[in-house]
C-alpha cells in the first residue's frame, strides 16, 4: 500500500474531491474561487502522474542516458503546461466578476445575492414581490 504511485494518486484524488466539494457546499463566493484553484491543482497532478515511468529520466536530450529505461512521456507534460496557465487566466477573470458582483450587491453570500436578484427581476417585470425571508439553511 505504501507505494509511491498509490500515495500520489490518493493525493490527487483527495485534492479533486476537496476542491469540487468546496465549490458545491460553500456559501461564500471567494471560497468557491479558492476551491476551483485546488481542484485544478489536483487535476493537473493526475495528468502528469499518468505519464510517469519508473527509473526514467526527464524529457530533455542529454547524451548520457545509460542505465535508465528511457524517458518519461513528454506529451502529458506539454498539456499540463497549457492547463496551468489557462487555470490562472480563469481565476483572474472570476476574481474580476466577484469584484463587480460585490460592487453591485454589497454582499458576497450566495443566498443573499440570489434573494436580491429575484427581487430585482420581480421589480423590473412588475410582478408582485414576495415578501418572504431568506430561507434558513438546513444544517
Amino acid at each position: 500500500m505504501l507505494d509511491a504511485n498509490s500515495i500520489l494518486f490518493a493525493g490527487a484524488v483527495g485534492l479533486l474531491v476537496i476542491g469540487i466539494g468546496g465549490m458545491v457546499i460553500s456559501d461564500h463566493l471567494y471560497r468557491m474561487l479558492l476551491a476551483l484553484a485546488l481542484a485544478e491543482a489536483g487535476a493537473n497532478l493526475m495528468l502528469v502522474l499518468a505519464g510517469f515511468k519508473w527509473n526514467a529520466v526527464a524529457p530533455i536530450v542529454t547524451f548520457s542516458m545509460a542505465g535508465t529505461s528511457g524517458m518519461v512521456d513528454p506529451v502529458p507534460q506539454a498539456m499540463v503546461l497549457t492547463a496551468i496557465v489557462i487555470g490562472v487566466g480563469v481565476q483572474a477573470l472570476a476574481l474580476t466578476m466577484i469584484i463587480r458582483i460585490r460592487n453591485a450587491y454589497g454582499t458576497l453570500s450566495m443566498r443573499e445575492i440570489k434573494h436580491k436578484m429575484e427581487q430585482d427581476f420581480a421589480a423590473k417585470a412588475d410582478l408582485p414581490i414576495e415578501t418572504r425571508n431568506i430561507p434558513a439553511r438546513n444544517e
Partner: protein, 236 residues
C-alpha cells in the same frame, strides 16, 4: 437536504475516481506517441527540450489557442475592472517602506535578466515562454508595489502585447506560405544543444514570453488600482 445530496454526490465522485485508479496502468504507461517523439524529436526539430518541441512544434496550434484564451481573460478583466468613475490622481496609499523601495530597485534588473534568460534558453533547458513571461510580469509590477503613486504605462504594454502576438501569427503564416503548413518550423536546425538551433522555435518562444509578460503586468496593474465605487450603490 442540500447538505445530504452534496455529500452523496461527493461520495459517488470519490468512488468513480478510485475505480479509475484501479484501471489506469500507473508507472508503466503505454506510450505510443511518446515513444515516437522520444526517438525522433531531437533530430526532427533540433530542440533538446522535448516538451518545447511538443508545445511549439508538434502541437503549435494548441499554444495559439492558449494565447487567445489568455488574451481574452486579460482584456475582459481590464475592461470589467475599469468601468467605474475614474478619479484623476488621488491616491490614498503612501509609498511603501524603505526596505520594499530599495529591494524593488535592486531586484528589477535581476528579475528582467532572469526572465529573459529563461525565455531565450527554452529549447535547451527547462523553461520557456510561459515561465519567463511570468517572471517578467512580476519584474514590471514590482515598482508599482514600491511606489503606489506611479501609474503603469498601459499604452506601452498594449503595444508590446499586440506586436508580439502579431509576430507569432506572422511566423506561422510565413511557414504556411513557404512550406505548406501553418506554424511549420523553417529556419536551419543547427546542432542539438547550441543556442542558435531549432529553427524558429526560440523566436516563437520569445514572442510568447513578451506577450504573456505584458498581459499579466497589465492585469495586475488593473487589479491594483483604487476602487472608487462605493458598495451597493448600483443596486436599486
Amino acid at each position: 437536504m442540500h447538505r445530504f445530496t452534496s455529500f452523496l454526490f461527493l461520495g459517488g465522485f470519490l468512488f468513480f475516481l478510485s475505480v479509475l485508479a484501479g484501471i489506469l496502468p500507473l508507472g508503466d504507461p503505454p506510450m505510443l506517441i511518446g515513444q515516437v517523439i522520444q526517438n525522433q524529436g531531437a533530430t526532427e526539430t533540433g530542440a533538446a527540450n522535448l516538451v518545447t518541441a511538443v508545445v511549439l512544434g508538434y502541437r503549435g496550434i494548441d499554444t495559439l489557442g492558449e494565447l487567445a484564451i489568455l488574451f481574452a481573460a486579460a482584456t475582459a478583466g481590464g475592461l470589467v475592472l475599469s468601468s467605474g468613475r475614474r478619479k484623476s490622481s488621488v491616491c490614498s496609499d503612501d509609498d511603501a517602506g524603505f526596505i520594499v523601495k530599495t529591494a524593488a530597485e535592486l531586484l528589477f534588473p535581476l528579475l528582467v535578466v532572469a526572465g529573459l534568460y529563461i525565455v531565450i534558453h527554452g529549447h535547451l533547458t527547462p523553461g520557456g515562454g510561459f515561465q519567463g513571461g511570468v517572471i517578467l510580469a512580476s519584474a514590471f509590477f514590482l515598482p508599482l508595489l514600491a511606489r503606489p503613486s506611479a501609474k503603469m504605462n498601459h499604452k506601452v504594454m498594449s503595444l508590446v502585447e499586440g506586436f508580439s502576438g502579431a509576430a507569432f501569427i506572422c511566423i506561422g503564416l510565413i511557414g504556411l506560405f513557404n512550406h505548406g503548413a501553418f506554424l511549420q518550423p523553417f529556419l536551419s536546425k543547427g546542432v542539438v544543444g547550441e543556442l542558435f538551433s531549432a529553427g524558429t522555435l526560440p523566436l516563437l518562444y520569445i514572442a510568447v514570453g513578451l506577450k504573456v509578460g505584458a498581459e499579466l503586468a497589465g492585469l495586475l496593474a488593473a487589479l491594483n488600482e483604487e476602487d472608487d465605487t462605493e458598495e451597493g450603490n448600483e443596486h436599486a
